[in-house]
Symmetry: C2
């Protein structure tokens, strides 16, 4: 026999969870006691300043580990504060388990009007709200069903790469249940493809590739975020290695394929924003094998894709779409290896045509003021192998797309949900995920002033946990993304922000004696370059470092300044 | 003809709104332009650092003005970030209009998978989530219905004192509609009582009072938050003035009745926590006339009420409950004046028995360390007439109940929803509401370290707006409320917080040259008293001032240290 709390911790531990995030509150303290006391699970509870930030942290943790992140809050104010974080995980397919400490089953049964309710005697207001955002929910209300509900939600989270919601009443935390099922660890469940449909799909795709190769036409592979979320990156490498097809990524999948990989051709960002050599290759290919595509304005260069349906084969985790014909139940995890087996017989020299190298060039500018045109390639020189790079929504997101990132680096950016401030919490989770591995990795946060103001307090949790990210804050006096996307606003006051002393934050928010952090201000290219060239700077293991970079309020990365009007990509009615 | 945006602004202006709160985002920028450009409406848009804080600000504004507060966010991340703030308004009956800038009607119709969606082609995920929290919603989807939907939701918000949700698609903001209806300003609508039922109720209550008076028994009036929210405070004063009945408040209604008023007897906080003289009066009264009661743990001394149903007459805005018998449709706004007319003939000398004066005594303690036992009475000496006092959930809420507050002062505290961090945003709104009146008022924020960390960035908006609250931060190294309510946690690490330099915050968050703020640290009674006695301190019109007060991590106000076990008050199944 084992308590329900320990049952949960055992399952989390089996799934590799070593850190969980949240804010303590009366309704989760009994569970918090057990997490803290039972050190044998080796799961550390990491307190956040608020629940939204903790949700972001759990999300960042899950993205770096490519497995489960866990958030613990309380019923009512706590869980609702986290809802935006939770919805972001739903939008971008992150397996985030949200455990909510809820009032006791007796209070719920009696409809006692306790604090944190709306005073309407209902206890399902908040779980019903969450239900609009996330598919699986497990509302534990009797101990007999606890184990199966916990197991079910965990399998759904990890198998479908989705958030889940688990309500744990205060009186059930220490109730004992059987531990029998714990001897069978849970694992990601991949539905078996229907053999006949799968064979049909493999044959049809092979036939199309065969025709194309015979006619001397090129084919390309286009990887999107679904490839990461549904765990087929290894399979894609195998396919490309064996066939030689050039491989491209979308913005949301940037770094899914190593950008130094010889068959990697760059980021396809629609017809207007892609680099010419990428646009030419992808848009002229006779076949585009799309893997795990994710539809959104940002990811698709504002819906300016120029890939006709007649040239498109789309693989998803649960279906395949060939030239507009859908084959449900044929998922890519099992399909890609079978395709690789067939296609490597078909492909020829044409499939192996050279891809342009993705070169980083820092422009020479006569003015010493820092510009985005100079800054992003300059960062390109600063990044190192295995860096974890967090690019906030807004300028950093637009700026990072066009520079090549080093081998082993990982880009984290919330490009469909686009909730500003996300990276600050996500950095906490990302650093802790990195700390679990033996490879030393730097974490680099690129964040605008408006975004940092949203979630600034979480810098304090980063300091407190002894983490050492390198933080670049872009001070351009407000919401420059709004100024760019809505030009009328450049004459307005509302995009302006309060001016902060960003370089003074770390000391006030926790490094009281100044021993753990270093902060800098860079007004000019020379100042910033000197810092980036300094061997003592940017080691990522000595101090937490923050650099406040001053930019003109109307200076923005190329893609933001030139963001196109929405194009003609068809509206998709199904989940992508 | 007038644009929909201007229609909304005209209505808000008619309702007295002079400040609205929110965060700009692409989906509300067209509306933001109009707010900023059309200065003739004299409505100032106040940008917040994040949407939750802005919701809190709008809520604080509404509470001080006792009328509508307005929040503007965007679809998806913005509105969900605000959800906890919005739910708090729902829990505590605050009229808060949440205007959400949503994608265009064309995008919605085409189910375009734009940024900020969950990628499921649905546009109602978030409004459906909000629907769990708030009753009225107006989803504008065609211009022909815009005016009536806007008017309907505003009337519902102000009449029922509830939050409301208004979705405004980008393409309809500048569409023109008829301005005809604007010549008829909206006003609070109070349903007429059914005359026969009302007469029956008046007679029944008069009879009970008559019996009671004849037997020499006392009667008391007990005012709760509903009296403020449903606008019957004036009627209550009239009743009490004419009858002489002693009047008490619950914690949530503290300051609804002036605490210097001669017939005011203090705060009834249930059987265990009330002062003896209050407990004796309320629990021994033969009739308790309860006005606008609000049920919650905190408000009822953890459900330790000792007022039997046989002695209880409950008036609510939409019903009356006499000794357990409900009369729906007999609301207090019209009922109380009729009761006053009858009861003042019935009442006699017994109804006018003296009430104990509510005296503030600062205890003498030999140790110079600051304790809660000393601190709260000491604040009692510092407060002045007309102060707006914001007491955060946790220690400040428990501490403030037991000290008398000056004439004209207003206490703002979120005692049922209890979302920590609320006061920081609410202070922004409260100060701006105060700035609209000609009476100079100080705003005083009493906030714990854990709560301040939740929402700290909004100090920056307070500085930026040139406001001058006096802020006391209680640094007790963590969540002392949790340590008190769950004693096991005193041995744990999870209630601890990162240590901040609170006195360093204002300079970093916006007072870069140090001309607008003054910050202090108080480690001892002597230091704090010297400051509170200093004439230059606490004027509330020269600087924004912040005092970091150091307390022991296990020192708490009496009521928190001695918080009773939950009592036997019956669970209520209806909204209270």
């Amino acid at each position: 026999m084992i308590t329900i709390a320990e049952y949960i911790l055992t399952r989390l531990r089996q799934l590799g969870v070593q850190h969980m995030f949240g804010v303590p509150g009366e309704l989760n303290l009994a569970f918090s006691d057990i997490i803290e006391d039972h050190t044998e699970y080796n799961i550390k509870w990491v307190g956040g300043c608020n629940e939204l930030n903790s949700a972001y942290a759990a999300d960042g943790y899950a993205r770096v580990k490519q497995s489960l992140g866990v958030l613990l809050t309380i019923f009512g104010p706590g869980e609702l504060s986290a809802m935006n974080g939770y919805a972001g995980a739903a939008s971008e397919d992150v397996p985030l388990l949200h455990i909510v400490g809820v009032p006791s089953t007796i209070q719920q049964k009696n409809q006692t009007l306790v604090d944190h309710t709306l005073g309407d005697g209902r206890y399902d207001d908040f779980s019903r709200a969450a239900r609009q955002m996330a598919y699986p929910q497990a509302i534990i209300d009797k101990k007999e069903e606890a184990a199966s509900k916990i197991d079910r939600i965990l399998i759904e989270c990890i198998s479908n790469s989705r958030p889940g919601y688990l309500a744990l009443p205060t009186d059930l935390v220490t109730q004992e249940i059987s531990s029998d099922s714990l001897q069978f660890p849970l694992s990601r469940y991949v539905a078996q493809n229907d053999p006949a449909a799968e064979k049909f799909v493999v044959d049809r795709i092979s036939h199309l590739f065969g025709q194309s190769m015979a006619q001397g036409e090129e084919a390309v592979v286009l990887v999107d975020l679904g490839a990461i979320r549904h765990d087929v990156v290894k399979e894609v490498y195998d396919l490309v290695n064996r066939t030689g097809f050039p491989v491209f990524c979308t913005p949301m999948a940037k770094t899914a394929i190593d950008e130094t990989y010889e068959r990697y051709g760059g980021v396809y960002w629609g017809s207007i924003l892609s680099r010419p050599e990428v646009k030419e290759k992808v848009e002229n290919a006779n076949i585009v094998l799309s893997i795990g595509s994710f539809i959104s304005d940002f990811n698709m260069g504002n819906f300016n894709y120029n890939i006709q349906t007649s040239r498109l084969i789309e693989l998803q985790h649960d279906r395949t779409n060939i030239q507009g014909t859908m084959f449900p139940g044929v998922g890519m995890k099992q399909l890609i290896p079978k395709l690789a087996n067939q296609l490597h017989h078909i492909c020829n020299e044409i499939s192996k045509t050279a891809v342009a190298k993705y070169v980083n060039i820092v422009p020479q500018e006569s003015d010493d003021a820092i510009t985005n045109a100079w800054l992003w390639p300059r960062f390109g020189e600063f990044f190192k192998e295995n860096d974890i790079i967090l690019a906030e929504t807004g300028s950093p997101q637009y700026g990072i797309i066009d520079i090549p990132l080093p081998k082993g680096s990982v880009l984290l950016s919330q490009m469909r949900w686009a909730s500003i401030g996300w990276t600050v919490g996500a950095t906490l989770g990302a650093c802790l995920a990195a700390s679990e591995s033996t490879t030393p990795r730097r974490s680099i946060l690129l964040v605008g002033d408006g975004s940092l103001q949203m979630t600034v307090q979480e810098l304090s949790s980063i300091i407190r946990a002894g983490l050492k990210p390198i933080i670049f804050v872009f001070n351009n006096h407000g919401y420059t993304t709004e100024r760019m996307l809505h030009r009328e606003s450049t004459q307005k006051k509302y995009p302006d922000l309060a001016l902060w002393d960003y370089a003074g934050l770390l000391k006030v928010l926790g490094d009281l004696d100044g021993t753990r952090s270093r902060s800098y201000k860079a007004h000019t290219k020379q100042e910033l370059s000197a810092l980036l060239n300094d061997e003592k700077f940017g080691k990522g293991d000595t101090y937490i470092e923050l650099v406040e970079i001053f930019l003109d309020k109307l200076d923005a990365p190329y893609a933001l300044t030139n963001w196109p009007k929405a194009g003609t990509a068809p509206a998709r009615r199904s989940r992508a």
